[in-house]
């Protein structure tokens, strides 16, 4: 890959490549542009591994749905569709505020960066709050993985002794694994967002250097993207 020689940093004027001058410039990169591009490639590689991490669970979910189709349909009725939809909307809005934070960072608008980042964190907290509400409801009803699953009145797939099929618990095992792993990603996101909010507040980001905001933005959108698939798979599909 050739290195791009466009000058991004008008503040550097005669120094051309944004070289040497910039305190963020690390010596092993030719210029700030190359440094930025390298970080981006690294982030996208990480995101690809994230897709595969969740991908394994999606494949498992698909296989189990194939094996227990009736149980999965009945079990999914226990999820509250409006809450899932609410969380979808909350995450989409948070993605929007995140991208606005990146845009503001590009324009060196410190106040707006901090504001949009705080809004993003707020949305993330709302998301986790709704998830907490949903989880506690499921714990109360014993809608849990097979070992702890209690039969619900509507469960029709039973063996000769009247025991419900393992499929019901399997659905909730996957539900907790996948939304749980996703929730951990949200939690990590909140920590990362808080970190860059502090840094933005200190005025560390400007159009010359906003890589952390950009990369954490990418991470945040991926978390949103995964939820875009989780939501229909768990809450909507019949």
């Amino acid at each position: 890959m050739s290195t791009s020689t466009i000058d991004l940093h008008d503040s550097h004027g005669p120094h051309g490549h944004g070289h040497a001058d910039d305190p963020h410039h690390q010596h092993h990169f030719t210029n700030m542009q190359q440094q930025f591009d390298t970080s981006k490639i690294g982030m996208w590689l990480f995101l690809a591994t994230e897709v595969l991490l969740f991908g394994g669970l999606f494949v498992g979910f698909g296989l189990m749905q194939n094996r227990y189709p009736q149980e999965f349909i009945e079990a999914h009725e226990h999820l509250q569709r409006p809450l899932g939809a609410l969380n979808t909307v909350v995450l989409l809005i948070s993605s929007f505020t995140m991208v606005m934070a990146v845009l503001s960072a590009k324009h060196s608008d410190k106040k707006k960066v901090v504001m949009y980042l705080i809004l993003t964190i707020l949305c993330a907290c709302i998301f986790l709050g709704v998830k907490y509400f949903e989880y506690s409801h499921k714990f109360e009803e014993h809608l849990l993985p097979p070992r702890w699953y209690h039969a619900q009145p509507g469960d029709t797939v039973r063996d000769v002794a009247g025991n419900v099929s393992h499929g019901y618990g399997t659905f909730f095992a996957f539900y907790f694994m996948m939304t749980g792993l996703h929730g951990i990603h949200i939690l990590v996101g909140i920590i990362l967002l808080s970190w860059i909010t502090v840094r933005a507040h200190r005025g560390e980001f400007s159009k010359a250097y906003y890589t952390p905001v950009d990369l954490i933005g990418l991470y945040w959108h991926l978390v949103d993207l995964i939820w875009i698939y989780l939501f229909p798979l768990y809450y909507l599909i019949k």
Binding site: L8, I41, W44, V59
Partner: protein, 132 residues
């Protein structure tokens, strides 16, 4: 190498607002569609809309449409390998002859007090005898 980078093309706030509105409308459509029974079409509709939404997020919010090709290739590679993974797993499951309950290991029964488990191997009565 072209000079197409995230810096030469820049989306403004207007594009992001439109993107958000499009995503919210698609969410509304997919939720509404889930209340209508299209039979097996429900799955297709839900996953199709999800894919459209995911593409919008990737192209606009994640700036893939202005990104250097290498990043798009990495992103697509992730999904390509996920696709291969999915395809072979489903091919495996769909070509297994007998995914019947009696071919699987018996589940650990969680019996209520007073109920005894049926003797192992008794049900199903219609299971064919072992052939020699």
């Amino acid at each position: 190498m072209s000079t197409h980078t995230a810096h030469t093309h820049e989306d403004g706030a207007g594009v992001y607002v439109k993107t958000l509105v499009a995503l919210l409308i698609l969410t509304l459509i997919t939720v509404a569609a889930s209340y209508v029974d299209f039979g097996s079409g429900n799955v297709v509709i839900a996953l199709f809309i999800a894919t459209v939404k995911a593409s919008i997020v990737a192209l606009f919010f994640m700036h893939l449409r202005h990104e250097k090709p290498v990043n798009s290739i990495i992103a697509l590679a992730g999904f390509l390998f996920l696709g291969i993974f999915l395809m072979f797993c489903f091919m495996d499951q769909d070509t297994r002859k007998d995914p019947k309950p009696y071919n699987m290991p018996p589940p650990a029964l969680n019996l209520p007090p007073g109920v005894t488990a049926p003797p192992a191997g008794a049900p199903p009565a219609a299971a064919p005898a072992e052939k020699h």
